[in-house]
Symmetry: C2
């Protein structure tokens, strides 16, 4: 695969041109044909499960030799159950409603021109991801179902696994009569290929990085292609003076502790000075196993509370640590979130509907919540079926992004011979 005379730019240009041709074909294929490709791809994943697991074993052996951490080895590992879950995920995407063809708006102008805006595929999407090989299938399925061609760039540690999964998906695509180039996997793990992909604005319409913060930061820094991603999830739960203490305790502990490693986890608790049960709330967090770093007022509530530094307010812990401070009402909470938040997910807990609506309107985040756990920030929980990622950008798609975020629209104008006066 690796022609030594081929530069990364040439490789991406070649793959990009093939992807563009495949995208043109996909845009004209029926929805049934695309769903069929995914159903057949899922069948191929199951049929080739043994070969996929054998390929994964080779990756695991190299990864063990290279001293990967136990957590990374677990993310890399495939077994029969994980291959089955991957196949089932592909089938689930096949069963989602068709995102294409929707008439977003329609009008007839006074001159008789009929104008419709119709949802169409975005084009060619690049996915850059790390060790989890199931992303090969998940991301490809979403892109394909929305009528897009995709170029995948997986982590070098999952090279054999990704190739095996890719081969099964392509089998399904070809069996359904669609072009094999609809889903391409960059054959080299040379890092320069990522750089070339990030700069290939002519060939790639959008890049989605899937992985840790350093990957996302590199992609956002280097890309000349639009990027759909979030860097941080510095999420806040604000407990208003008018919050019900039992609800506040339940939601804050869930928002922080249900799973500490997900991007929707709460990282800072803001407590209204008027809220009476603050010490009990802090105690509940501590007793759930969470370390608390507080301002002076919070420290005074419990000897186990450590002092928060300025840096804590800007930190996404992704572990059992929370920062906590007392604020002077909802506007002070809104100001703290504006200064320190990452525009991901922020929540107010209160029984006062007017205060809640003010918070929902004034906090400038992709997701704003009232009386719910921030851990609900997830495409599946939002009823989107699956998600390609969560975006904290403001353009195109915001919050959990699934099929609709992988589409665009075109204007169709139907006339009867109108010339412009």
């Amino acid at each position: 695969m690796n022609d030594l005379t081929q530069t990364p730019e040439m490789l991406i240009a070649t793959m990009g041109a093939r992807a563009r041709r495949a995208a043109a074909a996909l845009s004209q294929a029926s929805d049934a044909q695309k769903a069929d490709a995914l159903i057949r791809g899922a069948q191929a994943l199951r049929g080739q499960s043994a070969a996929i697991i054998a390929a994964n074993a080779r990756d695991m052996e190299s990864a063990t030799d290279n001293g990967l951490s136990p957590a990374m080895l677990d993310r890399l590992r495939l077994d029969a159950a994980r291959v089955e879950a991957t196949a089932a995920g592909v089938e689930q995407v096949a069963r989602l409603p068709n995102p294409l063809g929707e008439v977003i708006s329609r009008q007839v102008r006074p001159n008789g021109l009929e104008l419709t805006r119709v949802r169409v595929p975005l084009g060619v999407i690049g996915i850059i991801y790390e060790s989890r090989p199931n992303v090969t299938a998940d991301a490809a399925a979403l892109c394909l179902r929305a009528g897009n061609a995709v170029i995948l760039r997986g982590g070098s540690e999952a090279r054999e696994s990704n190739r095996a999964i890719h081969a099964a998906l392509v089998q399904g695509i070809v069996e359904a009569g669609l072009p094999a180039d609809a889903v391409q996997l960059i054959p080299t793990t040379d890092r320069a290929a990522v750089g070339a992909l990030l700069k290939a604005a002519e060939h790639i319409d959008m890049i989605v990085p899937r992985g840790g913060k350093s990957l996302v930061a590199r992609v956002q820094e280097e890309a000349r292609v639009p990027v759909l991603a979030h860097l941080d999830g510095i999420n806040h739960s604000y407990v208003d003076g008018a919050a019900d203490p039992a609800m506040a305790e339940k939601l804050v502990v869930n928002a922080k502790m249900r799973r500490t490693g997900i991007c929707g986890a709460t990282e800072t608790v803001l407590i209204d000075r008027a809220y009476g049960a603050a010490p009990a709330l802090v105690k509940a967090l501590l007793e759930a196993g969470c370390a608390v770093r507080g301002d002076e007022a919070v420290q005074a509530m419990d000897a186990r509370v450590a002092a928060a530094s300025e840096e804590d307010w800007d930190t996404e812990y992704l572990e059992a640590i929370v920062s906590a401070r007392i604020v002077d009402g909802v506007d002070d909470a809104i100001a703290h979130i504006a200064a320190h938040g990452s525009h991901h997910t922020d929540c107010i807990i209160t029984d006062d509907a007017a205060v809640a609506e003010h918070f929902l309107n004034a906090v400038d985040s992709a997701i704003v919540m009232w009386n719910a756990s921030t851990q609900f920030a997830d495409g599946g929980e939002f009823g989107l079926g699956a998600e390609i990622g969560i975006s904290t950008g403001r353009l195109h798609a915001r919050g959990p992004v699934a099929l609709e975020g992988l589409t665009t629209y075109k204007w169709m104008v139907r006339g009867t011979g109108q010339a412009r006066p």
Copy 2:
């Protein structure tokens, strides 16, 4: 205004922080207040018409001394009628429907969470434009009405005019009780300020360049902030074998010749080999004063047709020149457009509805038309009231962009105490 120790980056950071604060205030202001600011701004433009024209006279004097072309001088010139038209344009934006607050989607999840997606302002928008001083008012009005703060960077030749118009708009904004920083004008005409603006992704959410191709190309090349624009309008009118000759002649001549300098003008005519009246169509173009550059078959139709070079198929003339070639049916036309088009506006002229629908689906452009003049590619003609520009990008907004394209959405989640299981 120009502190000599201040770098362009510091200037933009300061203006950006002020714009962000103004945007937060605008996002919470009522629609009536924003409309009121525009009505008052229009009144101030009228009231200060003499001062604006005097400022413009100083610009015109410098521009004449600097040897600006007559066309550029005309674009720069303001008189009472043009100031009145500018004021009326601002009022028109004030009368457009409120683009904010729309509930784009709503659902109640099985767990009782209510999810709505609500249209909100985009944030802070940068506008970079050339000599026409009315853009100062047009662009600011659209941004403000959509709840955004705006940073304007006009051409150095219109410096005095832009300042005078800006002052009138700010007067209206302040009278309406909104922050003066809602509309800021970069006080220096130092080109480095443009570079700083283009890289200020932290402060600016979207850049809209308004001007000639070299400006747009520079912005697209240098920007790290998302750009909404089109570089070329290499638009095609395809005359199908089943086209009505009278309609084809009328539409093609209008599409090319009504105004040759606008981005919706047709630049290439593709003629189906099966179309019987091709020589008459070519003759009609020639007799309307259009130079025709054709392939061999078109050259054979009329001695006045010059030979088209390969470069002609990729050229946006913006004058009374058209390229023309014979194609083998609709799919050959689609292939030519895919190879040479700029994804702006492309039209089919035919009486065959099935062929037309195939063209509308298969041509990957922001605007696709059937039996209409490509000169209709315009926000006003599309019923959008006004436009900030036309986008050939695929993300966020495509085709004519007006108020809706200057907004984004947020997810609002309303619960009753749901924790995530």
